[in-house]
């Protein structure tokens, strides 16, 4: 399975499929444009990497996806199931409604009875199929001794059916089959919207995970073999190429290289590791190939142990009750008591069981949270659709509501506010000769500082110097020959210069005995300034936490105009800091990417992580930022606040309808016609109000 983020037209489909079909060993290939994926059925010896290069030759960006990490068939089946029930409920309610219109417009006697009987024949099987999700939820809530929205819903549906049947039996005037069916239809529509929005978010989140296919190179007797990470065992020898992430904890038995620990510690500068030094899973090897002897694999690695800690912290957050649940807690008992009172009142006053039961059913149907059931999903669907368009994925159902409450934003520095990639500052002070030599040397290395130099030179269209015999000395730098003169680029202490302060530096030796220092800084991510200004404008405090050294953090915070910052924070310290804010009664939005942030992400009231973040960090956060730009965070807060306001408004509208209609129902004036009108108008108003979230801006 391949992910193809760039395809967009029918010509792309045709070219991708033609290219894949032409490749030997492929049985069939099908592109899904909606999901931007290609599903490939191939012989086992065809490697995904080959196909990626085939497609890149055609000009398409392609990534391998791990099908095991995608379980969207399950979520898609759930939404398909809801859609099927929705279709049945829709069909049945239309037909019954037509028959009811005939009754309301004056059908009498035998005709009315006939229509009621036909309605019953349609409604009973239709409801017993379509309303199953409500019955099931209500039953499990009741068994746990709780009330949720589904209890009054189920009760109203069942009671409406029972009284209608009874009325029909006695050839009475009023039957509520249409009401019961329309109720089911509207509520299912709400459920389906909800399920669809959530499955879209989940499948995008799973795709991010699936992009990191866990493969490793195991050293066998006849050289390295590619195996799945799950197959690695203790004491296996694992080869890590430059640029690859360590799959296991281990000890270096061969090679020397620099290690990027940014994901684990937030430290920008790489560390040098030699034979005998330990490596943890998740660290990225930068310069030279390393061979590890595995000391911990799979669930035992330090990476997994930290991820497990996160799960513990997360359970604290699940105690949050959503607005809908809070409304249901107030609403459900009120409705039951009201309808029971109406029943008792009428029974005492008139002594007529049949009339009283009718009234009770009418009260339940009128008050039934049809609008309430639509209020939340319609708003969250509209809001998350809008945020998805801006590149923000909402993973958790209540995340929007929690985001709206946020009053303090805590940012991590490395990889979140910064790109995690260094940028050279004093490039302009170099001579052209120095620039071209630096470029020539830097091209031969995968070290982040070298990449920064090469990237900068490329934007200036600088030609690389014609250096020969390039040799990278892992942990020190690169050296080469230029006109039989040795030139070197690397660590300042290797070249023999002392940097003036502890900023990030590299040195360039032109062979003329006067080495120059190149200074770097960690560039802020695109939109960081705008996001912070936007958050401030909405009255939110911004705090910066970093595992990096104090001077680096201080200058960075000043650049972004952040007043409160804390440097050299260990992962625990970050989590404690967030917990302290929480205990002060603040609602914290944590934005972070690294493993050092995961505990803090899980402790915070609501959390966001960028798509480039480590899997564990993404799993711990409620929302994922898909693009490189940070700006959507400020928008997200605005949209979330607007959405929550809409949800409250919807509740108010629904309550207003109830205040008008309930007295009618209790007084026994609510005919099935009035019930149907009240229900439909309130549902439509609520949906229209929800759509306003999508409309503006």
């Amino acid at each position: 399975m391949l992910s193809l983020p760039m395809i967009h037209c029918q010509a792309c489909i045709a070219r991708v499929e033609a290219a894949l079909d032409a490749h030997p060993g492929i049985k069939s290939a099908r592109v899904n444009l909606t999901l931007k994926r290609a599903l490939i059925d191939a012989e086992p010896e065809v490697k995904a990497v080959e196909l990626v290069t085939v497609l890149e030759k055609e000009g398409f960006e392609a990534h391998e996806l791990d099908p095991g990490a995608l379980n969207d068939t399950a979520t898609r089946n759930a939404s398909k199931d809801l859609l099927m029930r929705l279709a049945v409920a829709g069909f049945a309610s239309m037909n019954v409604m037509l028959l009811s219109v005939a009754v309301w417009s004056g059908a009498a006697d035998a005709t009315r009875d006939l229509f009621h009987w036909i309605s019953a024949a349609i409604a009973l099987p239709a409801i017993s199929f379509s309303a199953q999700p409500f019955f099931r939820n209500a039953w499990s809530a009741l068994r746990a001794g709780q009330l949720n929205m589904d209890v009054p819903i189920s009760l109203a549906i069942v009671l409406a059916l029972v009284t209608s049947l009874w009325e029909t039996w006695l050839s009475g005037h009023h039957a509520y089959f249409d009401a019961a069916l329309t109720l089911t239809f509207f509520l299912l529509a709400g459920r389906w919207l909800d399920a669809r929005a959530r499955s879209a978010a989940r499948s995008a989140a799973e795709e991010l995970t699936a992009l990191e296919v866990p493969r490793a190179m195991r050293m066998a007797a006849d050289g390295p073999v590619e195996v799945p990470v799950a197959d690695l065992r203790m004491d296996d020898h694992v080869l890590i190429r430059p640029g690859a992430r360590a799959p296991v904890d281990g000890i270096i038995i061969d090679g020397r290289s620099e290690i990027d620990r940014a994901m684990l510690t937030g430290e920008t500068l790489p560390e040098v590791r030699d034979v005998g030094d330990p490596i943890s899973a998740g660290e990225v090897n930068l310069t030279g190939p390393l061979t590890l002897q595995a000391t911990a694999v799979g669930q035992e690695t330090s990476l997994h142990r930290m991820a497990a800690l996160v799960a513990v912290a997360e359970s604290g957050r699940s105690r949050y009750t959503s607005l809908a649940d809070r409304a249901a807690k107030l609403y459900a008992p009120g409705v039951h008591i009201l309808s029971a009172l109406a029943f008792l009142g009428w029974l005492i006053w008139s002594g007529d069981m049949r009339v009283s039961l009718n009234i009770a059913a009418a009260v339940l149907i009128i008050t039934c949270p049809c609008a309430l059931g639509l209020a939340v999903p319609a708003v969250t669907t509209a809001a998350s659709g809008r945020l998805f368009g801006k590149g923000l994925l909402i993973k958790n159902a209540t995340a929007l509501e929690r985001l709206a409450e946020a009053d303090t934003v805590v940012f991590d520095k490395t990889g979140t506010l910064t790109t995690g990639k260094p940028k050279i500052i004093n490039w302009g002070q170099l001579t052209n000769a120095q620039k071209s030599v630096a470029f020539g040397l830097a091209e031969g290395s995968a070290h982040p500082l070298s990449r920064a130099i090469a990237g900068m030179a490329r934007t200036e269209n600088q030609a690389p110097a014609d250096v020969t015999e390039i040799f990278e000395k892992p942990g020190f730098g690169t050296q080469a020959l230029l006109d039989n003169q040795a030139v070197r680029l690397g660590r300042p202490d290797w070249i023999g210069v002392t940097p003036p302060d502890d900023s990030i530096c590299a040195a360039l030796d032109m062979g003329d005995g006067a080495p120059v220092l190149l200074t770097f800084t960690d560039a802020p991510r695109q939109g960081a300034v705008e996001a912070i200004a936007g958050l401030r404008a909405q009255g939110v405090d911004v705090i910066l936490l970093s595992g990096d050294r104090a001077p680096a953090v201080a200058s960075f915070a000043a650049g972004l105009k952040i007043d409160e910052w804390h440097a050299a924070m260990l992962p625990d310290a970050k989590a404690h800091f967030v917990a302290k804010l929480r205990d002060e009664g603040r609602h914290v939005l944590m934005v972070g990417d690294g493993l050092n942030d995961t505990a803090a992400l899980a402790t915070a009231h609501v959390s966001i992580s960028p798509a480039q973040a480590l899997d564990a960090a993404r799993a711990a956060s409620d929302m994922v930022l898909l693009g490189q730009n940070l700006e959507p965070i400020a928008d997200a807060l605005a949209v979330a606040r607007q959405a929550t306001r809409r949800i409250r408004e919807n509740f108010q509208i629904a309550t207003l309808y109830n205040i008008v209609a309930v007295p009618l129902a209790v007084a026994g004036l609510a005919t099935p016609l009035i019930a149907a009108l009240a229900m439909s108008t309130s549902s439509i108003t609520v949906s229209l109000n929800a759509l306003r979230v999508r409309g503006r801006g």
């Binding site: 029918q10 859609l83 099927m84």
Partner: protein
């Protein structure tokens, strides 16, 4: 009013046909890639043999 004996079953059967048709399209996974399908129709490559 005897005409009802024909009309009601007929209307129910017609509506039911629509419902069955919809359920069939749902079961045969015709909503898996709406965007791709709407594009494929523009190319004559799949006119004779729809892509599986």
């Amino acid at each position: 009013m005897n005409v009802l004996a024909y009309l009601i079953p007929i209307s129910l059967i017609l509506g039911g046909l629509g419902l069955v048709g919809f359920l069939y399209t749902l079961k045969s996974r015709q909503y898996d890639d709406p965007e791709g399908d709407s594009r494929r129709i523009l190319s004559d490559k799949w006119d004779d043999h729809p892509k599986e």
